[in-house]
């Protein structure tokens, strides 16, 4: 049997595999960890509708019936054949593949690298990722029982040349708004601040979500990038920024500070792209054949791309690309019979 390799079992890989199966092809879905779902499996609920993330993952899983799934394994080698590739996994399994879809997603910027924000140093500094875990019921001693003031720092490790990432991570403004609303709902008496440089809310219904944060939740939006964070004598975190709209420095002590750690490339991309002799973009994401016409096609015939492996994506974008990549595979096989 000839397979289509789908590398990465996040939402993009799962949806690609489900669509390929529906098109009558034989996908093999390869996931490095022991579970499917990727990052979304760690989130609590999703912007802009606050729909539960676990339901999405459950629905995607239910559509994978009959799909060959390999968990807890990685690509050991990809060797070109006359038609397609021979895929060897680290668990020893070998699959002859006619086409490959990379869906390896992203990694999050390691917030401890921005030392001035005190992640891993101060007691009450967490990341957006940690907060989703707390929403999901994982205890976290850094989150106080009744915080009076909570702050969100936008653009942590994004739009930051010194941090080695000049790109905007795209999803963190709207994630901050989502998390700020959720915190305000849990702690109605708390003051919630978002420190931003620009608010980038581009998607369907996102601006409504922003208006809700302003009008219904009274979240304070301060236009100024946090330059440093210090711990006060009573163990709170003190944020230093300029309120650029009034042109004055602001200081505010907080009981919890949430860093919106950005989206950076998956370092595995290098090895995988080398294996099929394909270039990467200079930010380490996969290089699309054309960023306007078709982002899910690579320069290499028979190799396709889906989801956040080509750059920051929202869930609906990742899912749409998965469907597009599956159709591309289908057309490619039809054309090369």
């Amino acid at each position: 049997m000839e397979y289509i390799a789908v590398i990465g079992g996040g939402i993009a890989g799962m949806e690609t595999a489900a669509q390929l199966k529906a098109l009558g092809l034989e996908p093999v879905l390869i996931e490095r960890t022991e579970a499917l779902g990727g990052h979304v499996a760690s989130w609590h609920c999703l912007f802009p509708d606050l729909s539960p993330a676990d339901k999405l993952i459950k629905d995607l899983k239910s559509r994978l019936e009959g799909v060959e799934i390999q968990l807890g394994t990685e690509v050991a080698s990809l060797n070109p054949l006359r038609k397609g590739y021979s895929l060897v996994l680290s668990n020893g399994k070998v699959y002859p593949c006619r086409a490959i879809v990379f869906a390896t997603g992203f990694t999050q910027f390691p917030a401890e690298r921005k030392e001035e924000y005190g992640y891993g140093i101060y007691d009450h500094v967490i990341t957006n990722h940690d907060l989703e875990g707390w929403f999901n019921g994982n205890g976290d001693s850094r989150v106080p029982e009744a915080p009076k003031a909570i702050g969100f720092v936008h653009c942590v490790g994004s739009r930051d040349i010194k941090a080695g990432n000049s790109q905007c991570s795209k999803v963190c403004c709207i994630t901050a708004i989502k998390q700020a609303i959720e915190m305000k709902e849990r702690f109605p008496k708390a003051e919630v601040y978002c420190f931003y440089m620009d608010l980038r809310l581009f998607g369907k219904k996102y601006e409504d979500f922003y208006i809700r944060a302003q009008r219904d939740c009274n979240i304070h939006f301060i236009r100024g990038r946090v330059s440093e964070v210090a711990e006060t004598i009573d163990g709170r975190v003190q944020v230093k920024a300029e309120d650029t709209l009034s042109g004055r420095p602001v200081r505010v002590p907080l009981d919890l500070l949430v860093l919106m750690a950005g989206i950076v490339c998956n370092p595995d991309n290098k090895k995988l792209s080398d294996a099929v002799s394909m270039p990467l973009d200079d930010d380490g994401f996969f290089h699309s054949w054309n960023n306007v016409v078709d982002i899910t096609r690579s320069d290499r015939p028979g190799v396709f791309l889906a989801g956040a492996c080509t750059g920051a994506k929202t869930v609906p974008e990742a899912l749409a690309e998965a469907r597009s990549a599956a159709l591309n595979v289908y057309q490619y096989l039809k054309g090369s019979k």
Partner: protein, 112 residues
């Protein structure tokens, strides 16, 4: 004649009449200064800002609006400690910008 009221001069910034000589000269020396996004990290972290009003962000804005007196006043309060350069997310060499501005300031003033 007394109309019983006075017209105040307009506070509008006439972008087409702004004198950009110094800003353009500085950008020639370092095109990076054009990438400022006005985030305020430099001012927030500045050792002198809270007491003196020095702010690289405001200097860059004043340069682009032709407000040379503001530029001069602010620059005279800089201690050249370089903290602002460390935090700028655009990697602008703000300390060098300040030095260049001080160096060029008098020359450009004479020309215009």
């Amino acid at each position: 004649m007394d109309f019983g009221f006075r017209l105040s001069p307009s506070s509008a910034v006439d972008l087409d009449k702004v004198n950009l000589a110094l800003y353009d000269r500085l950008a020639e020396l370092d095109p990076g200064i054009r990438t400022c996004i006005g985030c305020g990290s430099c001012s927030a972290t500045c050792t002198s800002s809270a007491y003196s009003g020095m702010s690289v962000r405001k200097v860059l804005l004043a340069l682009q609006r032709g407000r040379m007196q503001d530029v001069e006043k602010m620059l005279s309060n800089c201690m050249l400690c370089g903290k602002c350069t460390m935090v700028c997310p655009r990697g602008i060499n703000t300390r060098r910008l300040i030095l260049n501005a001080c160096r060029l300031y008098d020359n450009v003033e004479e020309e215009v």
